[in-house]
């Protein structure tokens, strides 16, 4: 972007860090007015501090950076490669992209990822759904029609990065998320807990409810609202987003103390509270030509509900994004 050099009179304030250049933004976190160069510097050094304090990496580790071509993963790829160089982490970094096998869908984002590869000198590995599951998304849609493919894309997408990482024998996977998305996920998880509780209550009261009635409370239905709510809050109080994330972290810590032991899938070894993980159940159906297997209306009236609620809270994570938005 080639912007004019002339600053707005009222915006000509100097950066609070260097006192030399004019400020270009106000950090929501601190409300400091800061110039572009200083922002990069504090941003990168804060990430370095977090990495060091939490001992996120060990020298010699092989780290896959989840790369979707979106802004979050692009920033992550840049920052990690830069810090790895600057502070000699000694990490073996590479970009990992997942190709769902939807004709035309990934063309643009894979272009961006290939640019990242050149720009940051990070080797790129692309794993396809075909490699991971034996089926492309196009083939799945052909088999089951468009109607039910959301079950598949949700489950398959959630596991894809982990499976790709296992395939490439990496020590860790790094994924980039922005604060807005994380705060949104925190809110959605709280809302979802309420809906789950409400559902259980209704079942206990022997109220028969059509699944459709509750599906208006599905995460997809209130997602748009949550995002808008968060951005409105931020306008009133710029730190609101970070505070929501913080409260989400406290929430998770108190919740994780009583979380049941997670088992692993007997078939593929992926974490699962059932004998087989969801992906394996779905794949079994596909391979046997019974694609409806494992989809069903799981919001039944009996003990299934309880099981379902438990399982959901185990898989809730930042990765569980809505259908159609394939970034991570």
């Amino acid at each position: 972007m080639e912007a004019g050099t002339k600053p707005k009179i009222s915006g000509a304030r100097l950066c609070c860090c260097c006192n030399q250049r004019r400020a270009a933004l106000k950090r929501p976190k601190t409300l400091e007015q800061i110039c572009r160069e200083c922002f990069y510097e504090v941003f990168e050094e804060e990430i370095h501090q977090v990495i060091v304090e939490n001992q996120l990496f060990k020298p010699g580790e092989r780290i896959a950076i989840g790369a979707s071509g979106g802004k979050d993963s692009t920033v992550l790829a840049y920052v990690l490669s830069e810090l790895n160089r600057r502070h000699n982490y000694g990490l073996d970094l590479f970009l990992l992209s997942v190709d769902e096998g939807i004709t035309g869908y990934r063309d643009d984002s894979l272009e961006t990822v290939k640019r990242n590869e050149l720009q940051y000198g990070l080797p790129l590995k692309i794993v396809s759904y075909k490699d991971l599951y034996g089926w492309t998304m196009d083939e799945i849609v052909k088999m089951i029609g468009l109607k039910n493919n959301c079950t598949f894309c949700g489950v398959f997408r959630r596991q894809a990065l982990d499976r790709g990482a296992a395939l490439l024998k990496v020590d860790k996977v790094a994924t980039g998320h922005n604060a807005d998305d994380i705060a949104e996920t925190v809110l959605l998880n709280i809302l979802r807990d309420w809906v789950d509780a409400l559902q259980l209550l209704l079942v206990k009261m022997d109220l028969f409810l059509d699944a459709n009635l509750l599906s208006i409370y599905s995460p997809n239905a209130y997602r748009g609202f949550a995002r808008e709510f968060i951005k409105d809050l931020e306008r009133l109080r710029p730190r609101a987003i970070l505070d929501i994330i913080k409260s989400g972290e406290n929430f998770r810590i108190s919740a994780s103390t009583k979380m049941p032991e997670q088992g692993t899938c007997e078939r593929c070894g992926y974490i699962s509270s059932q004998k087989w993980c969801k992906a394996c159940v779905l794949l079994e159906g596909l391979n046997r030509g019974l694609p409806k297997l494992g989809i069903g209306r799981s919001r039944g009236l009996n003990s299934d509900v309880k099981k379902d609620v438990k399982q959901d809270s185990g898989t809730k994570s930042i990765e569980s994004k809505q259908c159609g938005s394939l970034d991570f």
């Binding site: 080639e2 912007a3 009222s10 979106g70 802004k71 922005n178």
Partner: protein, 99 residues
């Protein structure tokens, strides 16, 4: 007044997938200066071809849309009250689409 407007982060989809628009915006009748408030209403009538709610909310941009005036966050120049001058560059970036 000659201005360069840039749309990014998905907002370009609202104006026929064109990212950079070199435009000529007239001052409102009787006004001496063009403000961001004037520009936003000009943009909504002249450039935004679909889903205006993705761009505007009330008289300002939708929360989650970043606005830069000459590379500087408009929060620092008075948001809607920012006055524009000849050859200014205004960038709109949506942070709401994909990460």
């Amino acid at each position: 007044m000659q201005l360069t407007l840039e749309f990014g982060g998905g907002l370009e989809l609202l104006c026929q997938s064109v990212k950079i628009h070199n435009v000529n915006v007239d001052l409102p009748k009787g006004a001496e200066k063009l403000t961001m408030k004037d520009l936003l209403s000009w943009v909504s009538t002249n450039l935004i071809k679909e889903r205006p709610e993705m761009f505007m909310k009330g008289e300002s941009v939708r929360p989650g849309v970043l606005v830069l005036v000459n590379d500087c966050d408009w929060e620092l120049s008075g948001q809607l009250d920012t006055t524009l001058e000849e050859k200014d560059v205004v960038v709109f970036i949506s942070t709401l689409h994909g990460g």
